[in-house]
């Protein structure tokens, strides 16, 4: 394979020089056929689009060169949509995959988008893109019909060429039809998309579109962008959140050659043309802070959370809880705990801001460039039309790159120095400013009747959030209550910022629910897979579970069987997941080793099956971290884990044998892919530990200490 055989990255070719004057982007899009479409809420869109069209938020263009370009505000951070979005568009337009480019995240070229999170790109954006593609194809057929003087019914399209079915010589290419034209259409949604039986490109496994850039080191992440005259900034940070600056002495840093010191109240920064020299200058600043008094840590946080919890809101309910209690033959009541987790993407947050006159160009590692654009505009006092977020690769997000504090720092410093300024977090800053997955508590009371059928479910979740809290078993008397339904809390709840973390809420909720279901299966003396199937009304979930069991080679036995097998189900972003695991538990050390993971998933229509499997593998591997090791330690508002020596994330040596199965369900709408499989990992491990050694760990992560403690209690 030569370099030519691995295709390059689209959006770089479509980026315009940053000196280009600002313009109405419709003008910039140039000649050709433009098709506009809308994804999501029009009202929300109208609020965001001052002075710009508000009836669409994505568009595609068939250019005079025959290239098809989709402009979207989504970003690529490893999840692979740069590949799958192309597939969808090429399929519906009947053009070669190679002729499709996806321009992402450039706020001047791309219409407004809320952000890249919630597994929405394929699930929500995808169907709209396909419809737009189908509609654009219909426009091309109309034009071709006129040109070829042939009725539309007699025409067909292959590789971007329209021809007469009865006379293949009577043909015309999209590129020629687009030449010299400026046709703008709004998608009306009246043209239907292809049926799965007609697919040629959707459903095919493709390697990553951006692979070549990434294996050669050429892919540009934010901190890789260099512009002449730029300075690297390092900022004085407090030891704990909400600390008070007591004294500061910058004289030694000021004396360093070519070092610029900026001081605006307690915002103190040093800048230099080399980031390492700026770092050295920072170390010369003598600074004293007073930390706030707060008696909280990773151990007593749960009592605190229960104390400050707001009133609960019932998410779902059915039947009568009291009746369920009185009719239960056996009940169990347990409390589950989950600590704070860091996003820990390997790329720390970074931003580069370049101000020219009243305009700013910004490169930043962010999942929501359009939000960032507004934030920068506000920080600079610029009109938001004068701020442009440039396209860059994002080195992992997982929800963590929806907070953009580093961009504001860079914008502030660019304004104060009059130079382009880069702010790139150190790993310590990355941990300090992370919006952690929240610590949370779940309390569950559940019961079975005399036949082993679930008949009671009373579920209370504190601070994890309500995503994935609703149980999906067939239980006559059930109630789900969320105390703070989001992953952020009111002031005084968490000692630092919390936020969405890959499949937010659902990792904690699935851990608690599926542990409790397993407890009930053991009480009923029924094999945990059989017990779930008996209590699931949803045939699709039964099918997913059976598929996983078949692949695993599951032989029914009630737990604890001593085999170390565990099972769990979950639903996230519309996708149904079942995972089965085999673990080995070292009774002396408490160490849990995951040997094998089998995961089946029903995610509806699959655009790029290999891409979907990669996401499943990523979820399962990453999930081992929160299941076994990851727990942010802190004292008050000071974060104690600030690098990978004490905050351990999964490594090669942790890797189990991973097998993934995608259920064939091409007739259904596509569902989430980047998050669902991760939600089951904690629960399968907990259930497998119980199956192995007969004791249960009720807190994530299931560290050796906690396993040993559980064994001691017996």
């Amino acid at each position: 394979m030569t370099t030519d055989e691995v295709t390059g990255l689209d959006f770089m070719e479509h980026s315009f020089s940053n000196t280009l004057p600002r313009r109405d982007f419709l003008k910039l899009a140039g000649g050709g056929i433009l098709l506009f479409f809308t994804v999501g809420d029009l009202d929300l869109l109208a609020q965001q689009r001052r002075g710009l069209p508000t009836d669409f938020n994505a568009f595609l263009k068939i250019g005079e060169d025959g290239r098809v370009v989709c402009y979207t505000g989504k970003i690529e951070m490893g999840q692979g949509i740069i590949t799958s979005l192309r597939q969808m568009l090429a399929e519906e337009l009947d053009v070669a995959l190679e002729s499709v480019d996806i321009v992402m995240g450039d706020t001047d070229l791309c219409p407004w988008d809320m952000g890249t999170f919630g597994s929405m790109s394929t699930r929500i954006f995808g169907p709209a893109l396909r419809k737009a593609g189908a509609e654009a194809r219909a426009v091309m057929l109309e034009l071709a019909s006129e040109y070829l003087k042939t009725p539309i019914d007699s025409l067909t399209v292959e590789n971007g060429v329209v021809y007469d079915k009865s006379n293949k010589q009577n043909r015309i290419a999209y590129a020629i039809l687009a030449k010299g034209k400026k046709i703008e259409r709004r998608a009306a949604g009246s043209v239907s998309v292809k049926k799965p039986s007609e697919f040629k490109i959707i459903g095919k496994s493709l390697t990553r579109r951006d692979a070549k850039e990434k294996v050669t080191g050429k892919a540009k992440f934010t901190s890789d962008i260099r512009i002449s005259g730029m300075l690297y900034a390092k900022i004085v940070r407090p030891p704990a959140h909400d600390s008070k600056l007591v004294s500061v002495d910058v004289s030694e840093a000021k004396n360093m050659k070519n070092v610029q010191v900026i001081q605006e109240g307690d915002f103190i920064a040093v800048l230099h043309q080399y980031p390492d020299v700026a770092e050295e200058a920072l170390s010369k600043i003598k600074v004293q802070f007073e930390k706030p008094e707060l008696d909280l840590n990773e151990i007593n946080i749960f009592d605190h959370l229960l104390k400050v919890a707001p009133e609960g809101k019932v998410v779902t309910k059915g039947g009568d809880i009291q009746k369920g209690e009185s009719e239960s033959a056996a009940m169990a009541e347990h409390t589950y705990l989950d600590g704070y987790k860091a996003h820990a993407a390997i790329e720390p947050h970074a931003a580069l801001v370049h101000i020219e006159g009243n305009k700013a160009n910004v490169w930043a590692s962010t999942q929501n460039p359009f939000t960032a654009k507004e934030e920068v505009a506000k920080a600079l006092g610029f009109s938001s039309e004068h701020v442009r977020m440039m396209p860059v690769f994002v080195g992992g997000g997982f929800g963590g790159k929806t907070t953009n504090l580093q961009i504001i720092d860079a914008a502030r410093l660019a304004k104060l120095t009059g130079k382009p300024v880069q702010v790139a977090y150190t790993r310590k800053e990355e941990f300090f400013f992370d919006s952690f997955r929240p610590a949370a508590v779940v309390k569950i009371k559940s019961g079975i009747d005399s036949k082993g059928k679930m008949n009671l479910w009373d579920y209370h979740v504190y601070f994890a959030g309500s995503r994935g809290a609703e149980q999906f078993y067939d239980i006559p008397h059930h109630r789900t209550t969320a105390y703070n339904a989001s992953w952020t809390g009111a002031a005084g709840t968490h000692p630092f910022a919390t936020g969405a973390w890959r499949a937010p809420s659902n990792n904690t909720n699935t851990f608690a629910r599926e542990s409790q279901i397993d407890i009930m299966a053991a009480k009923a003396g029924i094999d945990p897979i059989e017990f779930r199937i008996q209590n699931l009304a949803d045939k699709r979930m039964q099918n997913v579970l059976r598929s996983a069991a078949k692949q695993f080679g599951w032989k029914p036995a009630k737990a604890p069987s001593g085999r170390g097998f565990g099972v769990a189900c979950g639903i996230d972003a519309g996708t149904l997941v079942a995972t089965i695991v085999e673990v080995k538990v070292n009774k002396n050390t408490g160490e849990v080793k995951v040997i094998r993971l089998v995961c089946a998933q029903d995610m509806g229509l699959v655009v790029n099956p290999e891409g979907a499997k990669i996401q499943m593998e990523g979820c399962l591997t990453m999930g081992l971290g929160y299941a076994l090791k990851e727990d942010v330690r802190f004292t008050g508002k000071e974060i104690l884990d600030v690098n990978f020596d004490t905050y351990e994330i999964p490594r090669f040596s942790w890797l189990p044998k991973i097998e993934t199965i995608i259920i064939d369900n091409q007739e259904s709408d596509p569902q989430g892919g980047g998050e669902p499989a991760i939600v089951t990992v904690g629960a399968v491990v907990a259930n497998a530990i119980f199956d192995a050694v007969g004791v249960r760990v009720y807190q994530q992560p299931m560290t050796p200490e906690r396993v040993k403690e559980a064994l001691k209690k017996g």
């Binding site: 050669t216 043309q273 993407a345 990523g618 690098n643 990978f644 999964p650 090669f652 040596s653």
Partner: protein, 161 residues
């Protein structure tokens, strides 16, 4: 800052640089030479994103002082593909989808290069042991192992690392 003149070989070319010998190689590569394929991940040698080859050995460039590379032969990810021809490891990483966000990829490939230069027929456990100190958050581990195995096979077939 005491400037000194440091000479070394970078991706096959002799280079000379006047700089503070205590500066770390990572930052010199990324700024003075604008070779940004080598990444910062942790700054303490814990993650491997900054891995480069010094005399054929994988080292953490964030922990390597410039004064220690005097006269040495340094190869970065940019120096791996020659004449637009991808190295077997680069091809294997692309073909096996052994990356997601791609931020740790340069370090992974450089570390694997060093591993394969010492052991052209590694077992899976050799690869796991050899790669264990390079971390990836996206969870591409499974395919990275497959890519390294596949590259090893191709390189055994005559291609020099």
């Amino acid at each position: 800052m005491a400037e000194e003149t440091i000479k070394f070989k970078l991706n096959g070319k002799a280079v000379t640089l006047s700089t503070d010998g205590d500066r770390k190689l990572l930052w010199v590569l990324r700024t003075d030479f604008e070779l940004t394929g080598t990444k910062y991940g942790c700054g303490e040698g814990l993650c491997g994103a900054c891995t480069v080859l010094v005399e054929g050995d994988a080292v953490r460039s964030c922990q390597t002082s410039m004064k220690d590379v005097e006269g040495k032969n340094i190869v970065t990810i940019e120096g791996l593909s020659m004449n637009d021809q991808l190295h077997p490891l680069q091809k294997a990483f692309a073909a096996h989808d052994a990356l997601q966000c791609g931020y740790c990829t340069s370090g992974m490939i450089m570390n694997a290069y060093s591993l394969l230069s010492k052991n052209l027929d590694p077992s899976v456990s050799d690869i796991v042991r050899g790669m264990d100190d390079n971390i990836c958050r996206c969870g591409a581990h499974k395919r990275i192992i497959e890519a390294v195995q596949s590259a090893a096979k191709e390189m055994k077939g005559g291609m020099k690392p």
